[in-house]
């Protein structure tokens, strides 16, 4: 294993050094401007157009304005794994953008491990624009500021912020509207409606209509964002109910959801391959009319599929359904809703020699001019001001080189993949919600009580991080594995209580206690 690790680390190291070396030469030599290295995942389509995101017009302009040169680390498809290896190598770029909450033990641990540096003094000295934004966030809700900090109260990165409602909700249940029409069915609201719709689709089109990708029921697959589970009061993530921190893995009500999912699976309403589908396989199923319903994004699912299918099958149509509930008229307990602070931030690593330059570079995005550049690109080129509204030009919406809008956005703006900046609602209105079907879907998805229950960026206190980590890796594996086994019937539901006991023995309650303590400390 040791040798395996070493080889992996070495190869990453070499790759980094080689790519860094290659790029270093492009910076004008001897002009005195510092050159920093930046790990930031570009929108997927960009990789097919430029070697490195730094070559895209938006970042060329950004670097010119700030007067600081930046080498973007080029990133392979599997970004999460790549970042793990990069951290394993111990040789980091100056800045890393990442969902730091996913770092084992949370951002506090990343600081403790000496990977990234706390930024409180840096914000005070070198980030006046961001500091102003932070005060605006504090005015809306002090919890927003806690979400930008480690459990120890250190700012750990330059966050992604959202002030406008249109930018907060972007994932939800989607169905084939043309199929619903043909079958004479309404958009489903309750779980019973869903059973009826899925059954009708199965019978009419001979497919297992509900599909998705990925093995984990918390991520973007058919149970993504607890879409169906929350109808039963189960949320597959840490959340708060009346001041008590809970997690759906160990709730007795989980059984009700699993019974439903297992029945759907048995009855052929769920794609039996949902565990092994990857994105490509899944999208092929969409394009081949094998999928009737799924959980997906407004832009990269609904928008992309509608676009692709416009030529292939003019009947293809999608509709966004509200998050399902048990009784008609209820408001769903949960659904996707991003916090105003996205737990995705650019941290400055301990390897950064010039912290001031890094902070100055990142802070520009939060200034008025930087904000416009990141969200809309260059005035007169990628957008025009029309009655005070920044409207994207044809370069973006109808690109002369034949680029898709997603590609053009990725080249001329820095916002479509998210990242350290303030995401502007006017961007969302023109890009994510340009189609009335998308706007309608978001309206349906917004109607949940998610805002009352979510806790953004909650991580254990650093004194508990080790203990929490040791318990949680086991609990998580066990829960995810068994939830899938219950759904597919590989484990009978009569053993549900045994499953709860197993989680208990693994220390679930202790892990929950650590989260509760961190939550209480926040208030």
């Amino acid at each position: 294993m040791k040798r395996f690790l070493c080889l992996l680390a070495l190869s990453v190291l070499i790759a980094t050094v080689v790519s860094a070396g290659g790029r270093g030469e492009t910076a004008a030599p001897g002009d005195g401007t510092p050159t920093l290295s930046y790990y930031r995942v570009p929108p997927g389509v960009v990789a097919t157009l430029v070697d490195s995101w730094g070559d895209a017009p938006v970042w060329q302009e950004y670097q010119r304005r700030v007067g600081i040169n930046v080498e973007f680390v080029s990133i392979p498809q599997d970004a999460a794994q790549h970042l793990s290896l990069l951290i394993a190598s111990g040789d980091y770029p100056d800045m890393i953008e990442h969902f730091w909450g996913n770092y084992s033990g949370g951002p506090a641990q990343a600081v403790e491990d000496g990977v990234i540096r706390p930024l409180n003094d840096v914000f005070d000295s070198y980030a006046p624009n961001l500091s102003r934004r932070i005060e605006e966030m504090r005015a809306v809700d002090p919890g927003n500021v806690a979400a930008m900090q480690t459990s120890e109260g250190d700012f750990f990165g330059f966050p992604m912020l959202r002030f406008d409602d249109e930018t907060l909700v972007f994932v939800g249940p989607q169905l084939r509207a043309d199929w619903l029409n043909e079958l004479g069915l309404d958009v489903p609201e309750t779980i019973d409606d869903w059973t009826e719709v899925l059954t009708a689709m199965r019978d009419a089109y001979g497919v297992a209509p509900l599909s998705g990708t990925g093995p984990i029921f918390v991520s973007r697959n058919i149970f993504g964002d607890s879409a169906f589970a929350s109808a039963f009061g189960v949320v597959a993530d840490w959340h708060v109910v009346n001041g008590v921190i809970r997690h759906g893995f160990a709730q007795p009500e989980l059984r009700d959801f699993l019974e439903l999912a297992n029945r759907w699976y048995r009855d052929g309403l769920i794609d039996p391959e949902f565990v092994t589908n990857d994105r490509q396989v899944f999208e092929n199923k969409i394009y081949n009319n094998n999928v009737g319903a799924f959980i997906g994004f407004t832009g990269s699912s609904m928008g992309a599929y509608l676009n692709t299918m416009a030529n292939r099958n003019p009947d293809f149509d999608l509709v966004g359904a509200p998050y399902p509930v048990l009784r008609r008229g209820d408001t769903p307990m949960f659904g996707q809703r991003s916090g105003m602070v996205v737990p995705r931030a650019t941290a400055i690593t301990t390897r950064a020699a010039n912290v001031e330059a890094a902070a100055t570079f990142l802070d520009y995005a939060y200034s008025e001019e930087g904000h416009m550049l990141i969200n809309f690109g260059i005035e007169g080129l990628s957008y025009e001001m029309v009655d005070g509204f920044p409207r994207y030009t044809d370069l973006i919406t109808n690109n002369p080189d034949g680029w898709s809008m997603a590609a053009a956005m990725g080249m001329f703006t820095g916002i479509s993949a998210g990242g350290s900046a303030v995401q502007d609602g006017r961007y969302a209105l023109q890009y994510l919600l340009s189609d009335p079907r998308q706007a309608n879907a978001v309206e349906n998805w917004m109607n949940t009580n998610a805002a009352d229950h979510m806790v953004v960026g909650l991580n254990p206190l650093s004194r508990d991080a080790d203990n929490f980590g040791a318990i949680w890796t086991e609990v998580q594996t066990h829960a995810e594995e068994n939830i899938l086994r219950f759904i597919t019937g590989a484990r009978p539901l009569s053993q549900f209580d045994a499953y709860l006991n197993e989680l208990d023995r693994m220390g679930f309650e202790r892990a929950r206690g650590y989260m509760q303590a961190s939550f209480d400390a926040r208030r």
């Binding site: 040791k2 770092y103 039996p272 092994t276």
Partner: protein, 301 residues
């Protein structure tokens, strides 16, 4: 005496020079990394390095041995390893023996090329093929339907994981593995066969009385080497093939280590398990070697 040895080294200096790269290779890639095992006893983080990370003693060993998953990954490792050994070890021997009996040269060469070929296919591509064949609309399900069965997601069945893994492994390694036996077969003195024929042995009897005893030392040595990797199964293939629904039979020590070490970034835990694994492997190989030395004349050292 001494000057004689020095003289011999000088005489054969080119040969000794050719040895140097391998010597350096082993030092750099196999001995220096051994020292890295100390991180098993630390709470290691790359940013602090070995010198600054705090010492934690046997904490991570204890964590692994008391983990809920310890028995499962151990059991799966042994089961997968033994199955691969039982099916995969004799397969190239049998293939080599069969090829040895083929007298038509072009036919023999064709079969050899076809069986080698999978060895040159990258693991990722090989598993990719397997995934395609195993999908709901794939080849394997078509065959199942042809025989009147139902389509099932094959890669999601815990009970099918081991056969599929072993099958894929044998498919990819059998031809290449037979080369060493074929070369051993070619060294057998033809006069032995003549003598057997004069004694009236048929082809079958010749194989048992001449061929197999002649390649037995090769088989024994390869077998002992193989036992040394009993707890090390081809985890790259498993990582590409498994999913949470098949963890029950597919999760082995090395994949567990991979998830904890590189996905959860717990390097020390992984190092501890890896070290433990290597110690057990070493013990097994020493044991197998000792047994072999006692019951036969063949041994590694």
């Amino acid at each position: 005496m001494k000057s004689k040895r020095v003289k011999r080294i000088i005489n054969d200096r080119v040969l000794y020079l050719m040895l140097v790269p391998f010597f350096v290779y082993f030092i750099v890639f196999h001995y220096i990394p051994l020292a890295g095992n100390v991180i098993a006893f630390q709470r290691f983080t790359p940013a602090r390095g070995i010198s600054e990370s705090p010492w934690v003693g046997f904490m991570y060993f204890q964590q692994f041995l008391t983990s809920t998953y310890f028995w499962r990954v151990l059991r799966n490792t042994v089961v997968i390893s033994l199955s691969t050994l039982i099916v995969g070890f004799p397969a190239p021997i049998i293939l080599a023996l069969m090829l040895n009996e083929v007298r038509v040269n072009w036919y023999k060469r064709t079969i050899q090329s076809i069986t080698y070929l999978p060895h040159f296919v990258s693991l990722v591509v090989a598993v990719g093929l397997l995934v395609q064949f195993s999908s709901m609309r794939g080849l394997f399900n078509d065959i199942i339907v042809m025989f009147g069965g139902q389509r099932i997601p094959l890669l999601q069945q815990a009970s099918l994981f081991v056969p599929m893994y072993v099958g894929a492994e044998v498919w990819q390694t059998v031809g290449w593995g037979s080369i060493i036996y074929l070369s051993a077969l070619s060294t057998i003195d033809p006069s032995l066969y003549e003598a057997a024929q004069i004694d009236g042995a048929n082809r079958w009897q010749q194989m048992w009385a001449v061929t197999i005893p002649s390649i037995l030392p090769t088989i024994t040595v390869l077998f002992i080497l193989r036992t040394g990797t009993l707890l090390t199964v081809g985890h790259e293939r498993i990582i590409l093939m498994y999913n949470p629904l098949t963890y029950e039979t597919a999760d082995v020590i090395m994949t567990f280590v991979y998830r904890r070490g590189l996905i959860d970034l717990n390097f020390s835990f992984s190092a501890a398990v890896g070290l433990l694994n290597s110690v057990v492997n070493a013990a097994i190989i020493f044991g197998a070697n000792a047994i072999s030395r006692r019951v036969s004349d063949t041994s590694l050292w």
